[in-house]
Symmetry: C2
Subunit: 308 residues, 2 copies
């Protein structure tokens, strides 16, 4: 039996991430009641139909009024406005968090609107799918995934610990780091890969129509993995690139330098340079499999006809 | 019951692709006997242990002597030398094919060594995993995947048809096109995605060690898909980039132009340009799902804890 960690949880924003928190924390028995608020009447109604919470509010200020914990689950670019709307209504001791994929910019946007009597513990669960909205949520999303918390140095350790326990009870492994460090690591592990995937799928979509249809047909040869990544939510990703601009541009600069070297090797027929890089990257894959972030099972592309 | 299409099949090279042909055509009952030859004694011994063929030869010339069909399953850069070795020993009417991921360069390398009395029908099964060697082979690899054949205009249609039937009996969907068109389509659907994946994994592996270990840890956020692609066989891919240089450089040029536009949009905080591209790429994904090249199932990253 897990004890109740927060008698009253409020979720502002109830898409994939918020809905999954509702389902997972309910399942874990770590919250007493869940109050939900979201921008549009349609999403709020859908959340109610799905039975994600105990009370539903059009106005976020009402949803947070008695909350012991508030988690803001909206796109990064909307976090500041939400903080402004709820700030004056937060009760003393409340733990305020978010789930944004960028941290420093979110802290800059939210912190000025939060009263001194709350504990602000920004967070980012590193888990997701390419689907959005409350229907996409499911209780197992955070199982065995990382959740990074980036509390500022002065924050009450007891508040950080309570939020960490909430995430652990949802199955996540909690990691602490500074907001700036988080943003640099995610720029290379997540933001740059998404940018590259968006870019190559864009390049393909601009091809002459004769080739274009065959690009779809023969997508299984590598391209398809990129299209999955490039199907991620446009609003969320626009906000991420705008909010983590410096770190993304820094990593993009390194990527471009490396790509120039590789291009030169192809143009000059320099097989050794290609072979050396391709051998080095294989080792990275082995490390990832070794630390359990993926399996060594071959990927046949589609699930429907693998060896079983 | 399928009839025997080729009484004697010879496979030169018996890695992932060759071994899967052996297993699949045996299972389909379309070949009488299978002769196998490969460069190294160790691989030949392993093929024999796995029972992939009926006869095993160190010398490819001996393996092809009575063959009705010979499929060369070695890296693209080695196809010319294999053709030179087997050319004088091929029997009249023999169907000679290959499985190379690049077609025009392979045709240029092999054709001069093949006698006029054989039928040369180059091929490329668009199926694979990131694993290599005879142990990686399995009979279902070609199920529901494309196999592209690129016969020159003058080749005997009956020979093309026999080879097409062999592939269809292995579960593949056969498509005909010119070698040059194949190379352009594959440059964007396969070669460029691999190059980009190799490059970004290389960039990450050059990071300062403090960030590097976290790149592995948080790889599930997008990077991991790239490492799987970048774990593909270094020899095979070196050969592909050298052999399909022009088409790859052409696609790389377009990719770079698009990336400059995207970089500028990030630098200028131009959210509309980002949003528009990200919306356009989502539509491409939907087309791929619609034509059955992938499922709409969310990808949780790891197979071990998805909803089932
Ligand atoms: N998806 C992932 O893979 C993933 C992973 C980790 C973290 N995150 C982070 O989680 C957050 C939410 O992502 P999600 O995938 O749950 O998104 P989602 O499914 O699209 O849901 C977004 C939620 O935010 C609300 N919202 C959107 N724009 C808003 C605005 N301008 N003002 C106020 N509310 C707004 C939506 O409200 P209405 O529907 O009522 O309009 C909805 O409730 C983002 O910050 C993202 O960076 C996402
Ligand atoms: N893997 C894929 O995803 C994929 C997909 C479609 C097409 N293809 C094409 O299929 C072909 C083989 O790929 P694979 O994945 O089967 O490779 P693999 O598993 O590495 O097997 C390669 C085979 O070629 C032999 N070989 C390697 N270098 C050689 C050389 N210099 N001279 C003569 N023989 C040599 C190897 O012999 P030893 O082991 O005896 O040295 C082995 O029998 C390549 O042309 C590739 O472009 C691959």
């Amino acid at each position: 039996m897990t004890d109740i960690i927060f008698p009253r949880l409020a979720l502002i924003g109830i898409g994939l991430i918020g809905a999954s928190i509702a389902l997972a924390s309910r399942k874990a028995g770590t919250v007493g009641s869940i109050a939900i608020s979201t921008r549009s009447p349609a999403t709020l109604k859908r959340a109610e139909e799905l039975g994600l919470g105990d009370a539903y509010f059009a106005d976020p200020a009402e949803a947070v009024r008695d909350a012991d914990c508030v988690i803001v689950c909206v796109p990064v670019g909307a976090c500041g406005a939400v903080a402004e709307a709820i700030g004056p209504h937060l009760k003393p001791g409340c733990v305020v968090s978010d789930v944004g994929s960028v941290k420093a910019a979110v802290v800059r946007a939210m912190a000025p609107h939060l009263p001194a009597h709350v504990n602000f513990v920004p967070g980012h669960p590193i888990a997701g799918t390419e689907h959005s909205g409350p229907d996409a949520g499911f209780a197992e999303l955070y199982q065995n995934r990382w959740c990074v918390l980036t509390p500022a140095p002065g924050v009450d350790p007891a508040a950080v610990d309570r939020l960490a326990r909430l995430w652990r009870a949802m199955g996540a492994n909690v990691e602490m780091m500074s907001a700036e460090h988080h943003d640099l690591v995610l720029a290379i592990t997540s933001h740059l890969p998404h940018l590259i995937a968006y870019n190559i799928v864009g390049t393909a979509s601009d091809l002459e129509s004769g080739i274009r249809s065959e690009v779809l047909k023969f997508s299984a040869s590598g391209f398809r993995d990129f299209t999955r990544i490039a199907a991620s939510d446009p609003t969320m990703w626009r906000d991420i690139f705008l909010a983590n601009k410096e770190a993304v541009l820094e990593m993009l600069g390194r990527f471009n330098e490396d790509l120039s070297t590789l291009t030169r090797a192809i143009r000059n027929g320099d097989g050794d340079t290609l072979f050396d890089l391709f051998t080095r990257t294989r080792a990275i894959r082995r490390s990832i499999v070794a630390i359990g972030q993926d399996t060594a099972e071959p990927d046949f592309g589609r699930r429907d006809h693998g060896r079983s």
